[in-house]
Symmetry: C2
Subunit: 308 residues, 2 copies
C-alpha cells in the first residue's frame, strides 16, 4: 500500500479538557489540537494521557466529530480505538476510518491478564475484518506498565502476515529501549513503523529506523521535540536530546497527566485545564507550584499557547 | 436502611452465551439464569466470568432488559456495572436500579494503575451521586489479580462514612483469606456484607460473619454450593466444603471461563455454549475431553440442566 502516505514524526496523546461537571470540553480540545499542529506535532488523540479510557465511546466519537468538523486535518490524526469490548473497538475504528484518520492506535483488550497471543491475534483480526476497510492502518499499542497485556514479536509477525496493509506499526511505551530495538530489528525494514512511547528514545529510535515518537510531553514541549525529529541527523542532535530529557525529567517527578494539565493551565492562564476525571486527581496547589517553579528554573516556555 | 432486604447467599457470575457471530445470545442467557435460580443461586450477571468487559454498555443493558422482561426476579440480581469510564458506570448502575436489581457489583476504574484511594473514592462517589437513588446498593469488587486496582480498608471506611446506605458490601476475589478476614473484622458488624470470591472460602466466610460467596464455579456446581450456604452450621459442613474444593480444583486446572462454558456445553448437550469472545480462547477438544473426564471421574453432574 505504498500509494498511501504514512503518518510519521512526533504525535501528542492530546490531553482531554473537561468542564467543571467533568463533561469533555470540545472548544478547548479543538484549540489545543490546533496549537499542537502549529508546533508540527500530530494528534494521537484518545491515548493514555488523554484519559481516553475514562471517556465513553460516544464521548470519543463526538470529540473526533467536533475536531474534524472544525476543519482539523484527519490525515494528522491517529486516534486511540482499542477497548476491552470488541464492539467498542470496531465502532471507534470504523468511525475514525470513515472520517479519514491516518491510522488508529489500538490497545489490546486489557481487562483479562495472561491472555494468549492467539486470543490477541483474534481480537485485532476481528476488528480489522469487521471494519473491513482497505485504507485502515492499525498501530498496535504496547504499554505493559498500564495495560498489563503485551504486544509480542510473535503477535506482530502473525498480524503482518495476515493483514500486511492494515498492520502499519506500533507505539512502544514499555520504557525499555531493548524492546523497542527488538521490534525495529525485526520489522522496520518491512515497512512496520515503530514509534517510541517517549521522546527520551526519539534519537535512538530514529537512528535505528524508527518512525518518530508519540509522547505525553509532546503535549507541553511540542516544538522542540518536533525539531529533533526534523533534524536528528544534525550535529546538535545529542544536545537537543539532552534538553528534551531535562524537561521530561521535571514532568516525570509528578503524576504525568495531572502535571501536563497543570502546566497547560499555567502557561495558557486557563485554570479549568487542570481538571481530570476520577480515578485521577489533579495536582495539589503545592505540587503545581513546584512543577511550574522547576520548569521556569529550566527556562521552559510554551510559545504560542494562548489563553482562552 | 434495615427496611430493605439485602441480597445474600451464593451468587453466580453468570457466563454469557454467544452466537456464532459472537453476538450475545439472550435466549440461552435467560434459560441459564432460570436454571441457576432453580438451584438457589442468585445472579451476579456481568462479572469477570461473564466476559462483561468484553461486552459493550448497550449489550449489557439489552441482556438485563431481556432477563427482567422474561420475568426473572431482579431482587435476585447483582449486575456488574463498574467500568473504566465514569459515564458508562453511571449509565449501567442507573439502569440496574431502575429495573429493581438488589444491588450492583462495581469494579474500580481499572485502566490506570497505582491510582490513589482519593481518586477511587471520587470515582465511586461520583457514580453514587449521579445515580442519586436512595435504594442503590453498591458492592465493591476487589479482584487485584485481574483489575490490578485494589479496594482497601481505608477506601471502604471513607465510603461507609460518606454513603452508609449505598455502601452495602464487597466481593473479595483476592484469593487471600487474610484479606477477606480483615474486611470482615473491620466492617461485618456494621452491616457491610462481605462475599467471598470463591466457594473455597465459603465456610470460613460464614463462620466469620460473611454474607455468602460469588463464585465462578457457582455457574456449574450451584446446588451443592448453595446447600453449604444454607447448612454451614450443620455437622457435615466441613465435608461439604471438601467436596466443593474437589470440584473447584478440577476446574482450576484449566482456563476458568472457557472451562465453565465447556462443561455447560457438555452437560447441556449444547455445543454453542463453548463460544467465548476474544481475547479469550475456547478449550481445545483435548482440553475439553480432559476436563469432562476428570469431572466424570469425580461423579460430577449438573442436575436439571436441559439441552436447548
Amino acid at each position: 500500500m505504498s500509494d498511501i502516505q504514512r503518518i510519521a514524526g512526533v504525535l501528542s496523546p492530546v490531553v482531554t479538557p473537561f468542564q467543571s461537571d467533568l463533561a469533555p470540553d470540545p472548544e478547548r480540545f479543538v484549540r489545543q489540537c490546533r496549537w499542537l499542529l502549529s508546533q508540527n506535532v500530530g494528534l494521537a488523540v484518545f491515548g493514555t494521557n488523554s484519559e481516553a479510557n475514562s471517556l465513553s465511546v460516544d464521548e470519543r466519537m463526538d470529540l473526533l466529530d467536533r475536531l474534524v468538523g472544525a476543519g482539523v486535518d484527519p490525515a494528522r490524526m491517529m486516534p486511540g480505538t482499542g477497548c476491552c469490548a470488541l464492539p467498542d473497538s470496531v465502532r471507534l475504528t470504523a468511525h475514525a476510518v470513515k472520517l479519514g484518520c491516518a491510522g488508529v492506535l489500538m490497545l489490546p483488550p486489557f481487562y483479562y491478564k495472561g491472555v494468549s497471543d492467539e486470543g490477541l491475534f483474534r481480537s485485532f483480526a476481528e476488528v480489522m475484518e469487521r471494519v473491513g476497510e482497505a485504507r485502515l492502518r492499525v498501530y498496535l499499542y504496547h504499554i505493559p506498565p498500564v495495560a498489563q497485556v503485551a504486544i509480542t514479536l510473535g503477535l506482530v509477525e502473525r498480524l503482518l502476515k495476515a493483514y500486511p496493509a492494515q498492520t502499519a506499526g506500533m507505539k512502544d511505551s514499555s520504557g525499555d529501549w531493548g524492546n523497542t530495538k527488538a521490534f525495529l530489528d525485526a520489522f522496520a525494514t518491512s515497512g512496520f513503523d515503530v514509534f517510541a512511547g517517549s521522546e527520551t528514545f526519539l534519537l535512538r529510535n530514529m537512528r535505528h529506523g524508527g518512525a518518530g515518537c508519540i509522547s505525553a510531553t509532546a503535549n507541553v514541549h511540542p516544538g522542540p521535540i518536533a525539531r529533533l525529529y526534523d533534524s536528528w541527523q544534525a550535529a546538535d542532535a545529542d544536545g537537543q536530546q539532552a534538553r528534551l530529557d531535562e524537561i521530561r525529567g521535571i514532568f516525570a517527578k509528578f503524576p504525568m497527566i495531572p502535571a501536563l494539565k497543570a502546566a497547560i493551565a499555567h502557561w495558557a492562564g486557563d485554570a479549568p485545564w487542570a481538571t481530570v476525571r476520577p480515578p485521577l486527581v489533579a495536582l495539589t496547589p503545592e505540587q503545581a507550584r513546584a512543577l511550574v517553579g522547576a520548569l521556569e528554573q529550566a527556562n521552559f516556555t510554551m510559545p504560542g499557547l494562548r489563553p482562552s
